[in-house]
């Protein structure tokens, strides 16, 4: 079986800035893989390339064997992407937003119903789904968007800071949903976070990114043991020479 994501020597240059510098990593099907690192490490750029939004300056990225440059349209059929700080359409209700998004993937009306109802459950917004999204709090909006990204049961869900803006309770809820989808529907998740403690509990494997390069990669537990650290923050600090 092909890898869910295979990035090989990916370079991305914006003007004279090297956002990614020969980045390589592999994500196995049905695993939760986390790209973690500080702001400006290149996490969002890497996820945008995997999601066909940006083109790599050099190197290749394949999603389930499909090249993200040459077969971008095919890649888009099997992925969903949740951008960091993404919004919803202000003048649509939560329910209308989910319907609008589901129509791009649903093959028929019954599948569309299934997607929207499943998403409605994930959001936990209940009757508030009938309200326009402009009245939602940041946390409510985020739950709506996470639900949108998972409801289609994509082969690969690319989630940029999925719990960004959520309080402890809702962040926990979203993490549980992500885990459930991976377990029940075989969804592969590639996510980014700068919250290293969070991904420690969520990800099967992580890659620590710094200045566009992977500085360490592996299972969170193995990494902690390897670097004799109490948590991933300590691992990161040791790897980049801060500790």
């Amino acid at each position: 079986m092909s890898l869910a994501v295979e990035a090989v020597n990916v370079v991305k240059v914006f003007g004279d800035i090297h956002a990614l510098n020969k980045l390589s990593f592999k994500v196995k099907p049905s695993e939760i893989f986390g790209l973690i690192g500080p702001n400006g490490a290149g996490k969002t750029t890497a996820l945008r390339i995997v999601s066909t939004l940006l083109l790599p300056t050099s190197g290749t990225v394949r999603v389930f064997g499909l090249d993200v440059v040459e077969e971008a349209a095919e890649v888009r059929k099997i992925i969903t992407y949740l951008p960091e700080e993404a919004g919803a359409y202000r003048h649509l209700s939560g329910w209308e937003y989910l319907e609008f998004m589901a129509k791009f993937n649903a093959k028929d009306e019954s599948e569309l119903r299934r997607m929207v109802e499943e998403a409605a459950e994930i959001t936990g917004l209940g009757e508030r789904l009938k309200d326009k999204t402009k009245g939602y709090s940041k946390g409510m909006k985020r739950r709506l968007l996470v639900a949108r990204a998972l409801m289609t049961r994509p082969k690969l869900a690319v989630l940029d800071e999925p719990t960004s803006g959520l309080d402890v309770l809702h962040a926990f809820h979203v993490r549980e949903i992500i885990k459930r989808y991976v377990k029940e529907h075989g969804v592969t998740v590639l996510l980014s976070s700068h919250n290293m403690l969070e991904v420690e509990h969520l990800c099967d494997r992580v890659a620590l990114l710094n200045k566009g390069k992977i500085v360490a990669e592996g299972n969170p537990k193995e990494l902690k043991e390897k670097f004799d650290s109490a948590n991933l923050e300590e691992v990161f600090a040791k790897v980049v020479g801060l500790a």
């Binding site: 945008r48 888009r76 969903t80 791009f104």
Partner: protein, 431 residues
């Protein structure tokens, strides 16, 4: 005084003045638009005056008497005059042949008995008057078309002042599309057509402006609300995103334009209701409203222009990071909409210098206005040329817009002003 007021004021002014978009849009652009418009108007007035001075007049002297000769001599002092004698039957065909032969647009007919009537008025009965007939060709060209017709008024006024008050009267007629329309004063007709022809350029101007704002806001809102990234990763043709946005903008703009037209027509109707019936002119009976085919061409012209404006707005807004930025950027396009609309309300494009004519023809937004005048006069080829030109321009823009949506440029493109360093710093932070 409010505490902190000046501190806030100075901060606001610094922010506003240092924003190149505001500086350009609010200060530089108006400083350019109005002098340009003033220059065009001034040139046109000057040209019209020169043309009036150089105007040729054909006099048909069916009288052949002393006073008709006096009048021709007076006319010779202000205009180049050709004289034909004894053309008794001024039919449409005869008039066309004469206009073509003498390459003129004005005919003064001195009827038989003119000299006798003048003599009678001076010597016997001051109630007897002599009449001159004036025929002016109506081309629907612009505000200065009435200048030719006023020439005859000035001459008759001058003649009467020398000889006797109210000795000579004038009957004026218009030659419209080769037909003589008796009793229709070319100057009045020109004035009426002016008031009618202002409506369409204003509507077009507002329609284009509103549509461009909607389209630009639509794309910029996606960027500002960070929904564009999600949209671009959906399993759909990216051209469909572009077309969906353009179509939505067209529909909203069209509804807006319809509302505008209804309101504006109501205003014009209310206004014309107050004009006394005896001085009103029925343009439809004179053939001065577009035919069905003319309306069709006008509609197509407006439609392709609208699409091109929307495509341009979408492209421009792609370079903005938010709604405010997009609206400012689209504002730079307004001069090329406003200048042709305002200028062509009053002017005939053919009266402009060749280089300026080419500039106006090159601006796609001129063409619906040019077409609106052309179709009234039955000149369909001008309208068709405009449609083809704007359609080609639109196809090029649509291609550029579709390329923009197909690549990462839609996310990464930014217009480079000053402060590149600041933006670079920001870009670094985004990684």
């Amino acid at each position: 005084m409010l505490k902190g007021f000046f501190n806030i004021l100075i901060k606001e002014l610094k922010e506003l003045v240092r924003d190149p978009k505001i500086l350009l849009g609010m200060i530089i652009v108006p400083l350019i638009i109005f002098p340009v418009l003033g220059g065009i108007m001034s040139y046109s007035v000057q040209t019209a005056q020169e043309q009036a001075q150089k105007a040729t007049v054909l006099v048909i002297d069916n009288d052949g008497g002393k006073w008709s000769q006096e009048f021709v001599n007076l006319l010779n002092s202000t205009a180049k005059v050709y004289v034909e004698k004894n053309v008794t039957s001024l039919t449409d065909e005869v008039v066309q042949q004469l206009l073509s032969h003498y390459n003129t647009t004005q005919i003064i007919e001195i009827p038989k008995g003119f000299s006798e009537n003048v003599t009678q008025h001076l010597n016997v009965n001051s109630t007897i008057t002599a009449t001159l007939k004036f025929y002016g060709v109506f081309t629907g060209s612009g505000i200065f078309e009435g200048i030719g017709a006023s020439l005859i008024d000035n001459l008759v006024h001058q003649f009467n002042r020398i000889q006797a008050p109210d000795i000579v009267l004038t009957e004026k007629s218009s030659i419209i599309k080769g037909e003589i329309k008796q009793g229709v004063d070319p100057a009045s007709l020109s004035g009426l057509m002016m008031s009618q022809s202002i409506a369409l350029p204003i509507t077009i101007m507002i329609l284009l402006q509103v549509a461009m704002q909607i389209a630009a806001t639509s794309v910029a809102m996606e960027k500002e609300e960070k929904t564009l990234e999600t949209l671009l990763t959906l399993p759909m043709d990216r051209f469909a995103i572009l077309m969906g946005k353009l179509s939505g903008s067209i529909i909203v703009a069209a509804v807006g334009a319809l509302a505008f037209m209804i309101g504006y027509n109501y205003m014009l109707f209310s206004f014309t209701m107050q004009i006394p019936a005896e001085i009103s002119v029925d343009l439809a009976s004179l053939g001065l409203v577009p035919s069905l085919f003319g309306y069709l061409l006008l509609g197509i012209s407006l439609f392709v222009t609208l699409i091109s404006a929307l495509a341009l707005a979408v492209i421009i807004s792609a370079f903005a990071e938010d709604v405010r930025g997009a609206q400012s950027l689209v504002g730079y396009i307004y001069p090329v909409i406003f200048i042709p609309a305002l200028a062509l309300m009053y002017l005939d494009i053919s009266s402009l210098p060749f280089a300026l004519q080419m500039v106006f023809y090159a601006i796609p937004y001129s063409h619906p206005i040019i077409a609106s005048k052309a179709v009234i006069m039955g000149d369909y080829w001008t309208a068709i040329f405009g449609i083809v030109y704007v359609a080609v321009f639109t196809i090029v823009l649509m291609y550029a817009a579709s390329r923009l949506f197909a690549t990462e440029k839609i996310l990464t493109a930014k217009l480079k002003f000053k402060g590149l360093r600041r933006r670079r710093k920001k870009t670094e932070e985004e990684f």
